[in-house]
Protein backbone atom coordinates (compact mmCIF):
# COMPACT_ATOMS: atom_id res chain seq x y z
CA UNK A 1 0.00 0.00 0.00
CA UNK A 2 2.83 2.39 -0.65
CA UNK A 3 0.58 3.78 -3.38
CA UNK A 4 -1.80 5.14 -0.73
CA UNK A 5 1.03 6.67 1.27
CA UNK A 6 2.23 8.45 -1.86
CA UNK A 7 -1.21 9.70 -2.82
CA UNK A 8 -2.79 10.65 0.52
CA UNK A 9 -3.26 14.26 -0.52
CA UNK A 10 -4.91 13.32 -3.78
CA UNK A 11 -7.25 10.80 -2.11
CA UNK A 12 -8.27 13.37 0.49
CA UNK A 13 -9.02 15.89 -2.24
CA UNK A 14 -11.19 13.36 -4.08
CA UNK A 15 -12.93 12.49 -0.82
CA UNK A 16 -13.78 16.14 -0.24
CA UNK A 17 -15.22 16.31 -3.78
CA UNK A 18 -17.18 13.16 -3.07
CA UNK A 19 -18.63 14.59 0.14
CA UNK A 20 -19.65 17.71 -1.73
CA UNK A 21 -21.22 15.89 -4.71
CA UNK A 22 -23.08 13.33 -2.58
CA UNK A 23 -23.86 15.47 0.49
CA UNK A 24 -25.14 18.75 -0.92
CA UNK A 25 -27.78 17.02 -3.09
CA UNK A 26 -28.91 15.21 0.05
CA UNK A 27 -29.77 18.52 1.71
CA UNK A 28 -31.29 20.12 -1.36
CA UNK A 29 -33.21 16.93 -2.16
CA UNK A 30 -34.63 16.85 1.36
CA UNK A 31 -35.73 20.48 1.09
CA UNK A 32 -37.51 19.70 -2.18
CA UNK A 33 -39.02 16.43 -0.97
CA UNK A 34 -40.55 18.03 2.14
CA UNK A 35 -43.12 20.21 0.36
CA UNK A 36 -43.74 17.53 -2.29
CA UNK A 37 -44.32 14.89 0.36
CA UNK A 38 -46.58 17.28 2.27
CA UNK A 39 -48.63 17.94 -0.87
CA UNK A 40 -48.90 14.21 -1.55
CA UNK A 41 -50.34 13.80 1.95
CA UNK A 42 -52.54 16.84 1.87
CA UNK A 43 -54.19 16.10 -1.47
CA UNK A 44 -54.77 12.38 -1.73
CA UNK A 45 -55.08 12.50 -5.52
CA UNK A 46 -51.47 13.63 -5.71
CA UNK A 47 -50.13 10.76 -3.65
CA UNK A 48 -49.98 8.12 -6.39
CA UNK A 49 -48.58 10.34 -9.19
CA UNK A 50 -46.03 11.97 -6.87
CA UNK A 51 -44.69 8.82 -5.27
CA UNK A 52 -44.79 6.66 -8.38
CA UNK A 53 -43.52 9.48 -10.59
CA UNK A 54 -40.58 10.37 -8.39
CA UNK A 55 -39.92 6.68 -7.80
CA UNK A 56 -39.57 6.16 -11.54
CA UNK A 57 -36.86 8.80 -11.67
CA UNK A 58 -34.75 6.52 -9.54
CA UNK A 59 -34.81 3.85 -12.21
CA UNK A 60 -33.09 6.08 -14.78
CA UNK A 61 -29.52 4.79 -15.06
CA UNK A 62 -27.16 7.28 -13.46
CA UNK A 63 -24.82 7.41 -16.42
CA UNK A 64 -27.71 8.32 -18.70
CA UNK A 65 -28.84 11.01 -16.29
CA UNK A 66 -25.35 12.51 -16.02
CA UNK A 67 -25.05 12.63 -19.79
CA UNK A 68 -28.53 14.06 -20.30
CA UNK A 69 -28.11 16.96 -17.87
CA UNK A 70 -26.28 19.31 -20.27
CA UNK A 71 -29.04 18.79 -22.85
CA UNK A 72 -31.84 19.42 -20.42
CA UNK A 73 -30.34 22.27 -18.40
CA UNK A 74 -27.92 23.67 -20.96
CA UNK A 75 -24.98 23.25 -18.61
CA UNK A 76 -21.44 22.60 -19.77
CA UNK A 77 -20.58 18.94 -20.33
CA UNK A 78 -17.91 18.60 -17.62
CA UNK A 79 -19.62 20.88 -15.08
CA UNK A 80 -19.99 19.23 -11.64
CA UNK A 81 -23.41 20.93 -11.47
CA UNK A 82 -24.65 18.13 -13.75
CA UNK A 83 -23.81 15.64 -11.04
CA UNK A 84 -25.29 17.80 -8.30
CA UNK A 85 -28.58 18.06 -10.13
CA UNK A 86 -28.71 14.38 -10.98
CA UNK A 87 -27.96 13.37 -7.40
CA UNK A 88 -30.63 15.78 -6.16
CA UNK A 89 -33.11 14.07 -8.45
CA UNK A 90 -32.20 10.67 -7.01
CA UNK A 91 -32.56 12.00 -3.48
CA UNK A 92 -35.97 13.46 -4.22
CA UNK A 93 -36.94 10.17 -5.86
CA UNK A 94 -36.17 8.30 -2.65
CA UNK A 95 -37.54 10.85 -0.21
CA UNK A 96 -40.94 12.00 -1.51
CA UNK A 97 -42.64 8.77 -0.57
CA UNK A 98 -40.75 8.63 2.71
CA UNK A 99 -41.83 12.14 3.66
CA UNK A 100 -45.44 11.49 2.67
CA UNK A 101 -45.56 8.25 4.62
CA UNK A 102 -43.75 9.77 7.59
CA UNK A 103 -46.31 12.55 7.79
CA UNK A 104 -49.06 9.98 7.37
CA UNK A 105 -47.71 8.03 10.32
CA UNK A 106 -48.13 10.96 12.72
CA UNK A 107 -50.96 9.77 14.97
CA UNK A 108 -54.26 11.28 13.91
CA UNK A 109 -55.34 12.12 17.43
CA UNK A 110 -52.23 14.24 17.84
CA UNK A 111 -52.95 16.14 14.62
CA UNK A 112 -56.57 16.60 15.65
CA UNK A 113 -55.48 17.85 19.05
CA UNK A 114 -53.19 20.37 17.34
CA UNK A 115 -56.08 21.58 15.19
CA UNK A 116 -58.30 21.85 18.23
CA UNK A 117 -55.70 23.94 20.05
CA UNK A 118 -55.92 26.47 17.26
CA UNK A 119 -52.82 25.74 15.19
CA UNK A 120 -53.09 27.01 11.64
CA UNK A 121 -51.91 24.68 8.91
CA UNK A 122 -48.38 25.92 8.26
CA UNK A 123 -47.50 26.35 11.90
CA UNK A 124 -48.96 22.95 12.68
CA UNK A 125 -46.69 21.42 10.05
CA UNK A 126 -43.52 22.89 11.50
CA UNK A 127 -44.46 22.66 15.18
CA UNK A 128 -46.13 19.26 15.31
CA UNK A 129 -46.18 17.15 12.16
CA UNK A 130 -42.61 17.62 10.95
CA UNK A 131 -40.93 17.04 14.33
CA UNK A 132 -42.92 13.84 14.77
CA UNK A 133 -42.02 12.69 11.25
CA UNK A 134 -38.28 13.14 11.83
CA UNK A 135 -37.49 9.53 12.82
CA UNK A 136 -39.06 8.06 9.67
CA UNK A 137 -37.67 10.75 7.37
CA UNK A 138 -34.25 10.22 8.86
CA UNK A 139 -34.43 6.50 8.11
CA UNK A 140 -35.14 7.36 4.46
CA UNK A 141 -32.38 9.91 4.44
CA UNK A 142 -29.87 7.32 5.59
CA UNK A 143 -30.78 5.10 2.65
CA UNK A 144 -30.48 8.04 0.27
CA UNK A 145 -27.10 8.98 1.75
CA UNK A 146 -25.58 5.56 1.17
CA UNK A 147 -27.13 5.40 -2.28
CA UNK A 148 -25.71 8.84 -3.18
CA UNK A 149 -22.21 7.97 -2.01
CA UNK A 150 -22.29 4.93 -4.21
CA UNK A 151 -23.92 6.44 -7.31
CA UNK A 152 -21.74 9.55 -7.40
CA UNK A 153 -18.68 7.46 -8.23
CA UNK A 154 -20.16 6.73 -11.66
CA UNK A 155 -19.58 10.38 -12.52
CA UNK A 156 -15.92 9.54 -12.97
CA UNK A 157 -16.85 8.22 -16.39
CA UNK A 158 -17.96 11.68 -17.47
CA UNK A 159 -14.84 13.15 -15.96
CA UNK A 160 -16.12 14.79 -12.80
CA UNK A 161 -13.49 14.05 -10.18
CA UNK A 162 -14.31 12.28 -6.91
CA UNK A 163 -13.44 8.88 -5.42
CA UNK A 164 -14.85 7.12 -8.51
CA UNK A 165 -11.78 8.35 -10.35
CA UNK A 166 -9.74 5.82 -8.37
CA UNK A 167 -11.80 3.02 -9.92
CA UNK A 168 -11.42 4.18 -13.52
CA UNK A 169 -7.77 4.88 -12.90
CA UNK A 170 -7.13 1.43 -11.43
CA UNK A 171 -9.14 -0.22 -14.17
CA UNK A 172 -7.27 1.47 -16.98
CA UNK A 173 -3.92 0.50 -15.47
CA UNK A 174 -5.02 -2.94 -14.15
CA UNK A 175 -3.61 -1.75 -10.87
CA UNK A 176 -5.63 -2.71 -7.81
CA UNK A 177 -4.32 -0.41 -5.11
CA UNK A 178 -6.38 2.68 -6.04
CA UNK A 179 -9.48 0.51 -6.44
CA UNK A 180 -9.12 -0.91 -2.96
CA UNK A 181 -8.41 2.51 -1.49
CA UNK A 182 -11.50 3.84 -3.31
CA UNK A 183 -13.73 1.12 -1.97
CA UNK A 184 -12.51 1.63 1.57
CA UNK A 185 -12.88 5.39 1.30
CA UNK A 186 -16.43 5.08 -0.08
CA UNK A 187 -17.41 2.70 2.70
CA UNK A 188 -15.97 4.93 5.39
CA UNK A 189 -17.71 7.90 3.85
CA UNK A 190 -21.05 6.13 3.77
CA UNK A 191 -20.60 5.18 7.42
CA UNK A 192 -19.73 8.76 8.33
CA UNK A 193 -22.81 10.10 6.53
CA UNK A 194 -24.91 7.54 8.33
CA UNK A 195 -23.43 8.50 11.67
CA UNK A 196 -23.96 12.22 11.09
CA UNK A 197 -27.61 11.68 10.21
CA UNK A 198 -28.06 9.41 13.20
CA UNK A 199 -26.54 12.01 15.53
CA UNK A 200 -28.62 14.83 14.08
CA UNK A 201 -31.73 12.71 14.52
CA UNK A 202 -30.91 12.02 18.13
CA UNK A 203 -30.44 15.71 18.76
CA UNK A 204 -33.78 16.49 17.12
CA UNK A 205 -35.72 13.78 18.93
CA UNK A 206 -34.86 13.74 22.62
CA UNK A 207 -38.44 12.54 23.26
CA UNK A 208 -37.75 9.27 21.47
CA UNK A 209 -35.03 8.22 23.85
CA UNK A 210 -37.20 9.29 26.77
CA UNK A 211 -39.92 6.93 25.59
CA UNK A 212 -37.49 4.06 25.29
CA UNK A 213 -35.96 4.79 28.66
CA UNK A 214 -39.18 4.00 30.47
CA UNK A 215 -39.34 0.31 29.78
Amino acid sequence: MTWFADHVGEVLGLTAQHVYLAGLPLLIGLLIALPLGWLARRYRVLYAPFTVGTGLLYTIPSLALFILMPFIFGTRILDPVNVLIAMTIYTVALLVRTVADALGAVPDHVVQAARAMGYRRVKRFFAVELPLAVPVISAGLRVAAVSNVSIVSVAAIIGVPQLGLLFTDGFQRTFYDPIIVGIVACTVLALVFDLVILLATRLLTPWQRAAGGRA
Binding site: A113, R115, A116, M117, G118, Y119, V128, W207, A210, A211
Partner: protein, 372 residues
Protein backbone atom coordinates in the same frame (compact mmCIF):
# COMPACT_ATOMS: atom_id res chain seq x y z
CA UNK B 1 -73.92 29.10 26.80
CA UNK B 2 -73.60 26.88 23.76
CA UNK B 3 -76.66 26.65 21.54
CA UNK B 4 -77.38 24.09 18.83
CA UNK B 5 -80.19 25.08 16.54
CA UNK B 6 -81.46 22.42 14.15
CA UNK B 7 -77.92 21.25 13.49
CA UNK B 8 -77.45 18.51 10.91
CA UNK B 9 -74.24 16.88 9.73
CA UNK B 10 -74.27 14.71 6.64
CA UNK B 11 -70.87 13.30 5.71
CA UNK B 12 -69.82 12.91 2.09
CA UNK B 13 -71.10 9.44 1.30
CA UNK B 14 -74.44 10.16 2.87
CA UNK B 15 -74.07 9.14 6.52
CA UNK B 16 -76.22 11.43 8.62
CA UNK B 17 -74.20 11.64 11.82
CA UNK B 18 -76.28 14.34 13.50
CA UNK B 19 -79.89 14.97 12.64
CA UNK B 20 -81.56 18.32 13.38
CA UNK B 21 -80.12 18.58 16.85
CA UNK B 22 -81.37 21.41 19.04
CA UNK B 23 -79.81 21.67 22.43
CA UNK B 24 -78.58 24.26 24.89
CA UNK B 25 -75.52 23.72 27.07
CA UNK B 26 -75.97 26.25 29.88
CA UNK B 27 -73.13 28.45 31.09
CA UNK B 28 -71.12 27.03 33.97
CA UNK B 29 -72.71 23.60 33.71
CA UNK B 30 -71.70 20.15 32.51
CA UNK B 31 -73.78 18.84 29.64
CA UNK B 32 -73.08 15.18 28.92
CA UNK B 33 -73.69 13.62 25.51
CA UNK B 34 -74.15 9.89 25.87
CA UNK B 35 -75.19 7.17 23.47
CA UNK B 36 -74.04 4.03 21.68
CA UNK B 37 -71.03 3.95 19.39
CA UNK B 38 -71.54 5.84 16.16
CA UNK B 39 -74.49 7.92 17.36
CA UNK B 40 -72.73 11.17 16.48
CA UNK B 41 -71.29 12.32 19.82
CA UNK B 42 -67.83 13.16 18.52
CA UNK B 43 -69.29 14.81 15.44
CA UNK B 44 -71.54 16.98 17.61
CA UNK B 45 -68.63 17.99 19.81
CA UNK B 46 -66.32 18.82 16.94
CA UNK B 47 -68.89 21.04 15.30
CA UNK B 48 -68.65 23.37 18.30
CA UNK B 49 -65.03 24.32 17.58
CA UNK B 50 -65.58 23.86 13.85
CA UNK B 51 -63.20 20.99 13.38
CA UNK B 52 -66.25 19.71 11.52
CA UNK B 53 -68.57 22.11 9.74
CA UNK B 54 -72.31 21.49 10.10
CA UNK B 55 -74.23 20.76 6.90
CA UNK B 56 -77.08 22.94 8.12
CA UNK B 57 -78.28 24.67 11.24
CA UNK B 58 -76.31 26.98 13.46
CA UNK B 59 -74.23 26.80 16.60
CA UNK B 60 -73.89 29.80 18.87
CA UNK B 61 -71.51 30.68 21.69
CA UNK B 62 -73.19 33.12 24.06
CA UNK B 63 -75.49 34.05 21.23
CA UNK B 64 -72.73 34.60 18.64
CA UNK B 65 -72.84 32.44 15.54
CA UNK B 66 -69.60 30.42 15.47
CA UNK B 67 -69.56 30.24 11.69
CA UNK B 68 -68.83 33.98 11.68
CA UNK B 69 -65.78 33.64 13.92
CA UNK B 70 -62.21 32.98 12.82
CA UNK B 71 -61.47 29.27 13.23
CA UNK B 72 -58.13 29.52 15.00
CA UNK B 73 -59.32 32.21 17.41
CA UNK B 74 -62.49 30.29 18.15
CA UNK B 75 -60.49 27.16 18.94
CA UNK B 76 -57.99 28.94 21.16
CA UNK B 77 -60.91 30.03 23.31
CA UNK B 78 -62.23 26.50 23.72
CA UNK B 79 -60.45 23.84 25.77
CA UNK B 80 -60.40 20.42 24.15
CA UNK B 81 -59.60 17.10 25.80
CA UNK B 82 -59.71 13.72 24.06
CA UNK B 83 -59.22 10.06 24.81
CA UNK B 84 -55.55 9.14 25.22
CA UNK B 85 -55.14 12.86 25.88
CA UNK B 86 -53.76 13.52 22.36
CA UNK B 87 -50.63 14.94 23.93
CA UNK B 88 -47.74 16.02 21.75
CA UNK B 89 -45.21 13.19 22.19
CA UNK B 90 -42.28 15.45 21.33
CA UNK B 91 -43.01 18.07 23.96
CA UNK B 92 -42.45 17.98 27.68
CA UNK B 93 -45.36 18.13 30.09
CA UNK B 94 -44.78 21.84 30.68
CA UNK B 95 -44.58 22.60 26.97
CA UNK B 96 -47.69 20.56 26.26
CA UNK B 97 -49.65 22.48 28.86
CA UNK B 98 -48.30 25.78 27.58
CA UNK B 99 -49.38 25.16 23.97
CA UNK B 100 -52.32 27.54 23.74
CA UNK B 101 -50.77 30.32 25.84
CA UNK B 102 -47.76 30.26 23.49
CA UNK B 103 -50.07 30.39 20.47
CA UNK B 104 -51.75 33.37 22.07
CA UNK B 105 -48.36 35.06 22.26
CA UNK B 106 -47.56 34.81 25.96
CA UNK B 107 -43.84 34.96 26.73
CA UNK B 108 -41.97 31.90 27.95
CA UNK B 109 -41.78 32.88 31.56
CA UNK B 110 -45.47 33.66 31.97
CA UNK B 111 -46.38 30.46 30.11
CA UNK B 112 -44.19 28.31 32.32
CA UNK B 113 -45.55 29.90 35.49
CA UNK B 114 -49.08 29.24 34.28
CA UNK B 115 -48.22 25.64 33.30
CA UNK B 116 -46.75 24.95 36.74
CA UNK B 117 -49.83 26.41 38.39
CA UNK B 118 -52.03 24.10 36.33
CA UNK B 119 -49.93 21.04 37.10
CA UNK B 120 -50.61 21.69 40.74
CA UNK B 121 -54.29 22.28 40.08
CA UNK B 122 -54.76 18.90 38.40
CA UNK B 123 -52.65 17.08 40.95
CA UNK B 124 -49.45 16.47 39.02
CA UNK B 125 -46.21 16.53 41.01
CA UNK B 126 -43.84 19.33 40.06
CA UNK B 127 -41.10 16.86 39.21
CA UNK B 128 -42.94 15.62 36.11
CA UNK B 129 -42.65 18.97 34.34
CA UNK B 130 -39.68 18.06 32.17
CA UNK B 131 -40.86 14.58 31.28
CA UNK B 132 -42.26 13.54 27.94
CA UNK B 133 -45.77 12.04 27.68
CA UNK B 134 -44.39 8.54 27.05
CA UNK B 135 -42.84 8.69 30.50
CA UNK B 136 -46.19 9.16 32.24
CA UNK B 137 -48.91 6.76 33.33
CA UNK B 138 -52.25 6.85 31.53
CA UNK B 139 -53.86 8.70 34.40
CA UNK B 140 -51.09 11.28 34.49
CA UNK B 141 -51.40 11.79 30.74
CA UNK B 142 -55.10 12.48 31.09
CA UNK B 143 -54.34 15.03 33.80
CA UNK B 144 -51.90 16.75 31.48
CA UNK B 145 -54.62 16.74 28.83
CA UNK B 146 -57.01 18.49 31.18
CA UNK B 147 -54.35 20.95 32.30
CA UNK B 148 -53.50 21.75 28.69
CA UNK B 149 -57.15 22.42 27.88
CA UNK B 150 -57.42 24.76 30.87
CA UNK B 151 -54.17 26.61 30.21
CA UNK B 152 -55.56 29.76 28.65
CA UNK B 153 -58.56 29.71 30.98
CA UNK B 154 -61.16 29.21 28.24
CA UNK B 155 -64.79 29.63 29.34
CA UNK B 156 -65.80 26.58 27.30
CA UNK B 157 -64.45 23.02 27.43
CA UNK B 158 -65.12 20.14 25.06
CA UNK B 159 -64.23 16.71 26.40
CA UNK B 160 -64.43 13.57 24.24
CA UNK B 161 -64.29 10.44 26.40
CA UNK B 162 -61.39 11.92 28.32
CA UNK B 163 -61.31 9.23 31.00
CA UNK B 164 -62.18 6.12 29.05
CA UNK B 165 -58.65 4.87 28.40
CA UNK B 166 -57.70 4.45 32.06
CA UNK B 167 -58.55 1.67 34.49
CA UNK B 168 -61.73 1.95 36.57
CA UNK B 169 -60.03 2.99 39.80
CA UNK B 170 -58.07 5.80 38.17
CA UNK B 171 -61.14 6.79 36.18
CA UNK B 172 -63.17 7.25 39.33
CA UNK B 173 -60.39 9.31 40.85
CA UNK B 174 -60.15 11.51 37.75
CA UNK B 175 -63.93 11.97 37.73
CA UNK B 176 -63.96 13.07 41.36
CA UNK B 177 -61.12 15.50 40.79
CA UNK B 178 -62.80 16.77 37.67
CA UNK B 179 -65.99 17.54 39.61
CA UNK B 180 -64.00 19.30 42.33
CA UNK B 181 -62.17 21.35 39.70
CA UNK B 182 -65.43 22.26 38.01
CA UNK B 183 -66.81 23.42 41.36
CA UNK B 184 -63.97 25.93 41.50
CA UNK B 185 -63.87 26.91 37.85
CA UNK B 186 -67.47 26.79 36.67
CA UNK B 187 -66.69 26.15 33.00
CA UNK B 188 -69.31 25.58 30.36
CA UNK B 189 -68.60 21.96 29.46
CA UNK B 190 -69.81 19.50 26.89
CA UNK B 191 -68.64 16.05 27.90
CA UNK B 192 -68.92 13.00 25.66
CA UNK B 193 -69.04 9.46 26.98
CA UNK B 194 -70.62 6.14 26.09
CA UNK B 195 -70.71 5.16 29.75
CA UNK B 196 -74.10 5.95 31.26
CA UNK B 197 -72.72 5.74 34.79
CA UNK B 198 -70.16 8.38 33.99
CA UNK B 199 -72.86 10.50 32.37
CA UNK B 200 -75.04 10.29 35.45
CA UNK B 201 -72.20 10.98 37.82
CA UNK B 202 -70.84 14.01 36.00
CA UNK B 203 -73.74 15.58 34.16
CA UNK B 204 -75.80 18.52 35.31
CA UNK B 205 -77.86 17.51 32.33
CA UNK B 206 -77.58 14.44 30.14
CA UNK B 207 -78.45 14.23 26.45
CA UNK B 208 -79.06 10.68 25.26
CA UNK B 209 -78.44 10.30 21.53
CA UNK B 210 -79.46 7.39 19.38
CA UNK B 211 -77.74 6.16 16.24
CA UNK B 212 -78.50 8.44 13.35
CA UNK B 213 -77.81 11.45 15.51
CA UNK B 214 -81.26 11.94 17.02
CA UNK B 215 -81.65 13.44 20.45
CA UNK B 216 -83.68 10.85 22.36
CA UNK B 217 -83.93 12.66 25.68
CA UNK B 218 -82.44 15.61 27.49
CA UNK B 219 -82.87 15.68 31.24
CA UNK B 220 -81.03 15.93 34.52
CA UNK B 221 -79.66 12.58 35.71
CA UNK B 222 -82.25 11.88 38.42
CA UNK B 223 -85.07 12.61 36.05
CA UNK B 224 -83.52 10.50 33.31
CA UNK B 225 -83.30 7.48 35.58
CA UNK B 226 -86.81 7.93 36.91
CA UNK B 227 -88.53 8.76 33.65
CA UNK B 228 -86.82 7.41 30.56
CA UNK B 229 -88.82 8.71 27.66
CA UNK B 230 -88.93 5.50 25.60
CA UNK B 231 -87.63 1.94 25.42
CA UNK B 232 -84.36 2.98 23.84
CA UNK B 233 -83.50 5.35 26.66
CA UNK B 234 -84.80 2.91 29.28
CA UNK B 235 -82.59 0.22 27.84
CA UNK B 236 -79.63 2.50 27.60
CA UNK B 237 -79.80 3.81 31.15
CA UNK B 238 -79.70 0.20 32.25
CA UNK B 239 -81.38 -2.52 34.24
CA UNK B 240 -80.45 -1.36 37.73
CA UNK B 241 -81.53 2.20 37.11
CA UNK B 242 -84.00 1.99 39.99
CA UNK B 243 -81.17 1.32 42.37
CA UNK B 244 -78.89 3.91 40.76
CA UNK B 245 -81.61 6.54 40.95
CA UNK B 246 -81.30 6.34 44.73
CA UNK B 247 -77.98 8.18 44.31
CA UNK B 248 -79.99 11.31 43.72
CA UNK B 249 -82.47 10.91 46.57
CA UNK B 250 -81.50 12.54 49.83
CA UNK B 251 -81.90 10.37 52.88
CA UNK B 252 -84.95 11.30 54.92
CA UNK B 253 -84.95 10.95 58.71
CA UNK B 254 -84.39 7.24 59.36
CA UNK B 255 -85.37 5.34 62.52
CA UNK B 256 -81.85 4.91 63.83
CA UNK B 257 -81.03 2.36 66.53
CA UNK B 258 -78.45 3.15 69.16
CA UNK B 259 -75.51 0.77 68.73
CA UNK B 260 -73.50 -0.72 71.53
CA UNK B 261 -69.85 -0.09 70.71
CA UNK B 262 -66.38 -1.08 71.75
CA UNK B 263 -63.50 1.36 71.51
CA UNK B 264 -60.24 0.13 70.01
CA UNK B 265 -58.12 -1.28 72.84
CA UNK B 266 -61.07 -2.26 75.03
CA UNK B 267 -61.44 -5.91 75.93
CA UNK B 268 -64.21 -8.13 74.59
CA UNK B 269 -64.49 -10.04 77.86
CA UNK B 270 -68.04 -10.01 79.12
CA UNK B 271 -69.47 -8.68 75.87
CA UNK B 272 -72.12 -10.92 74.34
CA UNK B 273 -74.22 -10.81 71.17
CA UNK B 274 -73.29 -11.45 67.57
CA UNK B 275 -71.53 -8.50 65.98
CA UNK B 276 -70.28 -5.47 67.86
CA UNK B 277 -69.32 -2.20 66.24
CA UNK B 278 -65.85 -0.88 67.02
CA UNK B 279 -65.07 2.83 67.05
CA UNK B 280 -61.90 4.86 67.57
CA UNK B 281 -61.38 7.50 70.28
CA UNK B 282 -63.30 10.05 68.24
CA UNK B 283 -66.33 7.76 67.92
CA UNK B 284 -65.60 7.13 64.22
CA UNK B 285 -66.71 3.58 63.26
CA UNK B 286 -63.75 1.45 62.16
CA UNK B 287 -65.25 -2.06 61.77
CA UNK B 288 -67.09 -4.95 63.35
CA UNK B 289 -65.97 -7.82 65.64
CA UNK B 290 -67.61 -11.05 66.78
CA UNK B 291 -67.01 -11.05 70.55
CA UNK B 292 -67.25 -14.87 70.88
CA UNK B 293 -64.44 -15.31 68.39
CA UNK B 294 -61.90 -12.87 69.71
CA UNK B 295 -60.49 -12.58 73.18
CA UNK B 296 -58.70 -9.76 74.87
CA UNK B 297 -58.15 -6.25 73.60
CA UNK B 298 -59.69 -5.30 70.28
CA UNK B 299 -57.00 -4.36 67.79
CA UNK B 300 -57.51 -3.02 64.31
CA UNK B 301 -56.27 -6.24 62.69
CA UNK B 302 -59.25 -8.19 64.11
CA UNK B 303 -61.83 -6.01 62.43
CA UNK B 304 -64.28 -6.99 59.73
CA UNK B 305 -64.24 -4.01 57.41
CA UNK B 306 -66.75 -5.11 54.80
CA UNK B 307 -69.47 -2.65 55.75
CA UNK B 308 -69.77 0.71 54.02
CA UNK B 309 -70.62 3.88 55.93
CA UNK B 310 -73.44 6.23 54.99
CA UNK B 311 -73.71 9.86 55.95
CA UNK B 312 -77.08 10.82 57.38
CA UNK B 313 -77.13 13.76 54.95
CA UNK B 314 -76.11 11.54 52.00
CA UNK B 315 -78.21 9.81 49.35
CA UNK B 316 -80.52 6.88 50.06
CA UNK B 317 -78.33 4.64 47.94
CA UNK B 318 -75.53 4.93 50.47
CA UNK B 319 -77.84 4.15 53.39
CA UNK B 320 -79.20 1.05 51.67
CA UNK B 321 -75.74 -0.06 50.68
CA UNK B 322 -74.51 0.38 54.25
CA UNK B 323 -77.24 -1.96 55.49
CA UNK B 324 -76.69 -4.51 52.72
CA UNK B 325 -72.93 -4.61 53.10
CA UNK B 326 -72.78 -4.76 56.89
CA UNK B 327 -71.88 -8.20 58.33
CA UNK B 328 -74.39 -7.57 61.14
CA UNK B 329 -77.02 -6.40 58.64
CA UNK B 330 -77.12 -3.16 60.57
CA UNK B 331 -76.03 -0.28 58.37
CA UNK B 332 -73.78 2.27 60.01
CA UNK B 333 -74.84 5.90 59.71
CA UNK B 334 -72.41 8.69 60.50
CA UNK B 335 -72.67 12.48 60.63
CA UNK B 336 -70.73 14.84 58.37
CA UNK B 337 -67.67 14.67 60.60
CA UNK B 338 -67.68 10.87 60.32
CA UNK B 339 -68.84 10.22 63.91
CA UNK B 340 -71.30 7.43 64.61
CA UNK B 341 -74.99 8.42 64.81
CA UNK B 342 -76.64 5.00 64.82
CA UNK B 343 -77.51 2.00 62.69
CA UNK B 344 -80.37 1.15 60.39
CA UNK B 345 -81.73 -2.06 58.87
CA UNK B 346 -82.35 -2.62 55.19
CA UNK B 347 -86.13 -2.94 55.56
CA UNK B 348 -86.21 0.39 57.34
CA UNK B 349 -84.34 2.02 54.48
CA UNK B 350 -86.73 0.39 52.02
CA UNK B 351 -89.70 1.75 53.92
CA UNK B 352 -88.12 5.19 53.68
CA UNK B 353 -87.58 4.66 49.95
CA UNK B 354 -91.19 3.70 49.43
CA UNK B 355 -92.32 6.83 51.19
CA UNK B 356 -89.90 9.09 49.30
CA UNK B 357 -91.18 11.05 46.34
CA UNK B 358 -90.08 10.16 42.85
CA UNK B 359 -88.70 13.11 40.88
CA UNK B 360 -91.82 14.89 39.70
CA UNK B 361 -93.06 14.30 36.22
CA UNK B 362 -92.69 17.77 34.79
CA UNK B 363 -89.41 17.81 32.90
CA UNK B 364 -87.33 20.37 34.79
CA UNK B 365 -85.30 21.24 31.71
CA UNK B 366 -88.29 21.57 29.46
CA UNK B 367 -91.13 22.94 31.51
CA UNK B 368 -94.31 22.31 29.62
CA UNK B 369 -92.76 19.63 27.40
CA UNK B 370 -95.10 16.72 26.86
CA UNK B 371 -94.25 13.65 28.84
CA UNK B 372 -94.70 10.45 26.93
Amino acid sequence: MIGFDEVTKRYPGGTVAVDRLSLTAPTGRITVLVGPSGCGKTTTLRMVNRMIEPTSGSITLDGRDTSRMKEAELRRGIGYVIQHAGLFPHRTVLDNIGTVPRLLGWDRRRTEARSRELMERVGLPDTLGRRYPAQLSGGQQQRVGVARALAADPPVMLMDEPFSAVDPVVREQLQDEFLRLQDELGKTIIFVTHDIDEAIKLGDQVAVLRVGGHLAQLADPAYLLAHPVDDFVADFVGRDRGYRALSFQPTPRLPLAAERTLTLGETTTGVGGDWVLVVDEENHPVGWVEPQRVHGEVTSTMLHRGGTLARSSGPLRAALDAALSSPSRRGVIVDDSGALVGTVRAHEVLTAIERAERPELADPLHPGAPVR
